[in-house]
């Protein structure tokens, strides 16, 4: 077992993990942050996306020990007081999702993308989200949510 400390959603969290344990399993099982979902466990579907040191990563492909000393933001960290963040609000307004399983990955990936590209247009957003799979919506409502958040961001 390896002792690690990770800053998760702003708080220092200590854990003792097997070297083989993924970051996703550490977040879900050890820290009870079950908002991070596992859709494929081989890095394709994007449901498990979290932000590590400012960059979106697949937490199913990263080991917990690799995250030692890093800052991790999960979907729970984007609405710390239960209040929806601006992107989450825009996605609610846009009826972005259905079953909700892919949702945390899209929310995290789009948050990271919009913070770097606040003026992104539809095609750029589609490409930025093309590593996240949704089986319910046909994507249009998700893209509309991100576009709405970008537009509202520009108005502020």
């Amino acid at each position: 077992m390896v002792d690690i400390t990770v800053t998760v959603n702003g708080a220092q969290r200590a854990g003792s993990v097997e070297a083989r344990k993924t970051l996703a399993d550490f977040l879900r099982d050890d820290l009870d942050l079950t908002g991070t979902h596992l859709g494929c466990e081989h890095g394709v579907c994007g449901a498990c996306t979290v932000i590590v040191d400012g960059r979106p990563v697949r937490s199913c492909l990263m080991l917990a020990v690799q995250a030692a000393g890093s800052e991790v933001t999960t979907v729970e960290g984007l609405a710390p007081d239960g209040e929806l963040g601006p992107l989450q609000q825009a996605m609610w307004d846009s009826h972005s999702f259905q079953c909700g399983f892919c949702t945390p990955g899209f929310v995290v990936q789009a948050t990271a993308f919009l913070s770097a590209h606040p003026d992104a247009g539809e095609q750029e957003i589609r490409e930025a989200l093309s590593g996240n799979i949704c089986r319910c919506t046909g994507y249009q409502s998700i893209i509309d949510g991100v576009l709405l958040a970008a537009r509202r961001g520009a108005e502020i």
């Binding site: 079950t34 979902h37 909700g100 046909g138 409502s141």
Partner: protein
Amino acid sequence: MTQIAAERYTGASVKRSEDPRILTGGGRYVDDIKLPGMLHAAFVRSPLAHGRVLAVDATAARELPGVVAVYTGADMATMTIPGQDPLFAMMGGGGPAPEYTLLATDKVRFVGDPVAIVVAESRYLAEDGCELVEVDYEDLPPVATAATALDAGSPPLFANLGDNIIGPHKRTEFGDVTGTFAGADLIEEFHIDVHRHQNVPMEGRGIVASHDAETGTMTVHAATQSVHVTRMGIAMRLGMEADKVRVLAGDIGGSFGLKIGASREEIAVAAASRDLGRPVKWTEDRGENLSASGHAREESFDVKAAISKDGDLLGLDVAMVIDIGAYPVMGTMVPAIVEAMLPGPYKLAALGFESTAVATNKASYIAYRGPWASETFVRERVLDLLAKDLGLDPLEIRLRNVAPRTDPPFPMVTGRPLAGVTTRESLERVAQMVDIPAFRRRQAEERARGRYLGIGLATFIEAAPGPRSPEAGSGPMGMEFMRLRLEEDGIVTLFTGQMPHGQSHQTTLAQIAADEFGVPFGQVRVVVGDSDVVPFGLTGGSRSATMTGGVALHGARQLKGKVLDFASVLIEASAADLEIVDGQVQVVGDPDTGIPVGEVARQAASGEFGADVDTSFEVEASFDGGEGGWSGGSHCAIVEVDVETGIVTVERYVAAEDCGALINPAVVEGQIRGGIAQGIGAVLLERSAYDQDGNYQSATFMDYLLPTACEIPRFEIAHLETVPLDADVNFRGVGEGGMIVAPPTLVNAIEDALAPFGVRIYEQHLPPARILELIDAADSQSTSSVD
């Protein structure tokens, strides 16, 4: 004081009450459940398509620290009741019943067939344990295709059957088939294939089972489309009384037909929990989901079409072979629905239909969004092929053959009346939306520049719920139940057997009940997912809009009647003079007399009223679907095919849909778009592929390709709401239509794009490599005919 008219929620895109939870990571899916002392299960699965199990040695696995138990197929057979798949058993699947065990004992029948279950302190350790289970197999010749299975000499999957025919050949004729074909100007024949593909919800299957030996009860947390069907399945196979099994479900990460009832793995997990006296969790991983959860649609059709030289489709004679995979679940039930639906909205006067269902060494055929969809693919593909041969426009041949809307309604040749069907209108609407003549001009210009654009059109109807048949005593889809209760805090609680997994029932049912009862939307609570609390029900078959929307409306009306009766005592006015507006009971038009509905409930509960006053504000409602009706629509796609790479780009996609009155337009459009996206995936990307030996080839998302935001275009959707049939309930189901009609729409467009090459398409899966083969084959054919 100005009276504010109550807002009407039904028909508005009310924001989903589900969303704040799921957007913040607060959803509760089955894999999020953690119980004290919970163990984790993993399955040892067959690497062979077909083999004899000679020995299973679990000694080393059992010795691994952290492994708590290993159950082989033989162990499991002593812990469970033998039987068929619970869904198959409940629906009376028909055909000869093969004998097999919950986990494989004598034989394995597909790659991924479960052989043993390992239960350990963590999923990591359970998977380590699986690695240590030694299974000796003897290879048997695989039955990898339906053609092999049809051969009486093929090795039988099931010893008690002797061959691989699971649904024996059956033929039915509707109308005068012989006479129609004898009198036709032309008879054309086609062979059409539909390929194997699958549901792929983003969340796989999963279960946490927890047996309490003290009380003899089993609590199951499940991902399911029906807590009751799961309860029945687990009780049946564990030999328990159904009332000793409680099934709970929270959020569910999609299903599309996959998660109905209780699968073999889920039953094994429940049995393990009972044996160990500890909770056991199993979360299906993606490899298991793709290889072993089940597949759909592998069917082939020999079609004979009788036509007039003017383009009247007079008769069809269709022979279907369905490959149900290894174990009967849904496959044997599909041909009857295909048969009933094949005429579609057309005035086809004769149909001969025959079918045979065969077992093969592949994953079992399960329900997938519009399980009968191949009838639409076949019919709409054949119409385009015929139009081409007759020199007719695809729109023209459809308009020519659409049944007229008559009174009494024109009956399909297979029986059901086409009451209220708006196919003509939806065809005309999509044609107008895309402006076909303008497209044809652009198509010709682009072809001259070496760009290949095509347009495709297809139409469908769906019995969601279907029309009430004049002679039938019951409604079109059985009964739907709901319990409704007014609480003392003024909340109206609906208890429904629907088990939403993306359909937004917590929002849509609340909209209907809020309007009908007279409270704000936020004052209605929808309770789902507890078999001890909710009435029997199932989310599936696009039934909820009519059936559950209807029972919510009628139930709310019933509950309101009770409240008004009681309030008439309080307000001292006749119930007929009272109304409920914005949560207040009042004399019609006089808000000053208003009493909050919660106050009415509180006063009733005070016990001050005599026995002759009904003070219970709970009703049990049921609804039989009323007059029912069809949903349906027409879709049109414009595609570009890159003839160098074979890549198809969907440039534009329009749909004119009629699902009657819309409850929540954003929810309806979400269902339509999601269905179309799955249809696009099915044609351009997705395939559950096996090699010639039955080895599964698509067990990761690098092999089973799903569409992403870059392959799916924006969809333009128009709504027709033209023909109400029922006095109150004209919402119709819209869950499956997109997936039913998108494949023929797209394939028709691709064939149109490739018309200059003379390409004809008789299949549904058209990835780039196949497009190039079709172009090459057509090229060489035309070259050789020139030679």
